[in-house]
């Protein structure tokens, strides 16, 4: 029953955010209609980080307690996370082209997001390369911890590297209340979506493990 509530709340919030982004919020002066991508970009970036934070916490818990549920949660969060990070990169490119004229730019946020993508990739790669499940889970947890600690330093280095980008993603006049509302609702909607996906993905992973153990018992 709990899961159905989550699904409907998520759907309602997502539709609400869509309405706010396309109908309610006023068009921004400088960038025009394309600026609305902002309401997609920030949630994607937020999810990418939130997901990895959960991976980090669950990795620590897994190494400390060795319960498979922590590993299942970490894996699932990483999977949603890599989708979100890929989404952030795609949206970043689709925003860069109209605004700056190029598909890709080595601007701090995009660059840091790309590095995050590779860290997520490493998280999965180490599981396949490790040979056995338990070792893979252990190694992935190490990546989860080291990777998360790395993130602030990556952000710092990439920001310092490029300095303040001249045509940066800062709006003249800051965020009007209507824009803030739209942003917050969007963030909330995507966060609930994250929880929904996380719950279902973890359940699938644990069911798969359970089936393997049942099959082992049947011989």
């Amino acid at each position: 029953m709990k899961r159905y509530i989550l699904f409907w709340v998520s759907l309602v919030l997502m539709l609400a955010s869509l309405f706010l982004v396309f109908v309610y919020v006023p068009t921004e002066k400088e960038m025009g209609i394309v600026q609305r991508i902002f309401y997609l970009m920030v949630p994607m970036g937020w999810l990418a980080l939130l997901s990895f934070f959960i991976v980090f916490i669950c990795s620590i818990l897994y190494l400390a307690r060795r319960r498979d549920s922590y590993d299942a949660l970490a894996y699932s969060s990483a999977e949603v996370g890599i989708f979100a990070t890929t989404g952030a990169l795609i949206v970043g490119c689709l925003w860069a082209k109209p605004i700056w004229g190029v598909w890709w730019t080595w601007e701090p946020r995009l660059t840091a997001t790309l590095v995050l993508w590779f860290i997520y990739f490493a998280y999965f790669a180490v599981r396949s390369f490790a040979g056995e499940e338990a070792r893979g889970a252990r190694y992935a947890a190490v990546i989860g911890i080291v990777g998360f600690v790395d993130l602030p330093i990556v952000a710092l280095a990439t920001t310092l590297w490029r300095g303040m980008h001249p045509g940066g993603v800062i709006f003249s006049g800051g965020l009007a209340p209507s824009m803030l509302l739209t942003l917050l609702v969007s963030l909330g909607a995507y966060t609930v979506l994250y929880v929904l996906l996380l719950v279902h993905r973890t359940s699938v992973r644990q069911d798969e493990a359970f089936i393997n153990s049942l099959k082992a018992r049947l011989g």
């Binding site: 490493a122 190490v142 080291v146 990777g147």
Partner: protein, 223 residues
């Protein structure tokens, strides 16, 4: 025996065995010089462009050479099963980490000490400035801190030579960025003040990852 003494015993073992075969240092060194020369052909260089691309070439070279040497770090342990021997002795996992890390650090520093003058010669740049040496040393410490951890991890996987760069390179991006920027400034003769923020990033990276790798290492080599 104190912690440091035990760790240095491990380092000494690595150094002695390397002195006998010289395989890590020699191959990494030849590789380094080859890469520098190849880059020279890649960029048809005038004196101005040389100054621009030089720091990048230097650090790409050191990165690849570092991966090469780190790849070898745990292979003797794995192949001769020394690791089990080490672990069943009353030596803590952290001692193994520090010992191996110091060994890899020493090897990388030796490679860099020899490669830098070659680099200076081929690119006609002043390399023995204190800022450049400091940047190189600090960045290498960071490389090796994280690299030793992942090297131990990679040695237990299939396709170990591929695994190390895939895991390791994204993590050390901050060092590479900072080292390239700081080296560029150092080669241009800038003062310490200009390099300060980059050195701070490298320093912070070193401190954080020495601690984190130290703590997490045990989870990698438990078997």
């Amino acid at each position: 025996m104190s912690f440091l003494k035990k760790a240095l015993a491990i380092t000494r073992k690595d150094v002695l065995s390397e002195l006998r075969t010289k395989e890590i240092i020699f191959s990494a060194l030849v590789f380094t010089v080859l890469v520098i020369v190849t880059f020279n052909f890649a960029f048809s260089a005038s004196q101005e462009t040389t100054a621009l691309v030089a720091p990048g070439i230097l650090w790409v070279t050191f990165t690849f050479a570092g991966v090469l040497s780190l790849n070898r770090a745990f292979i003797p342990e794995k192949e001769e099963n020394c690791l089990e021997g080490l672990m069943s002795s009353p030596v803590s996992r952290e001692v193994i980490y520090v010992g191996k890390m110091l060994g890899s650090l020493l090897f990388m520093l030796i490679i860099e000490i020899i490669a830098l003058p070659v680099f200076a010669l081929l690119f006609n740049l002043p390399v023995f400035s204190a800022p450049l040496v400091t940047v190189t040393f600090l960045a290498t410490v960071g490389f090796v801190a994280v690299g030793t951890l992942f090297s131990a991890l990679a040695v237990n996987t299939k396709a170990r030579e591929m695994v190390l760069p895939i895991l390791f390179l994204p993590m050390v991006v901050p060092i590479i960025i900072s080292a390239v920027k700081a080296s560029g400034l150092a080669l241009a003769g800038e003062s310490w003040g200009a390099l300060a923020s980059w050195l701070q990033i490298i320093g912070a990276f070193d401190a954080i990852f020495l601690v984190v790798s130290f703590w997490v290492f045990a989870f990698v080599i438990e078997e």
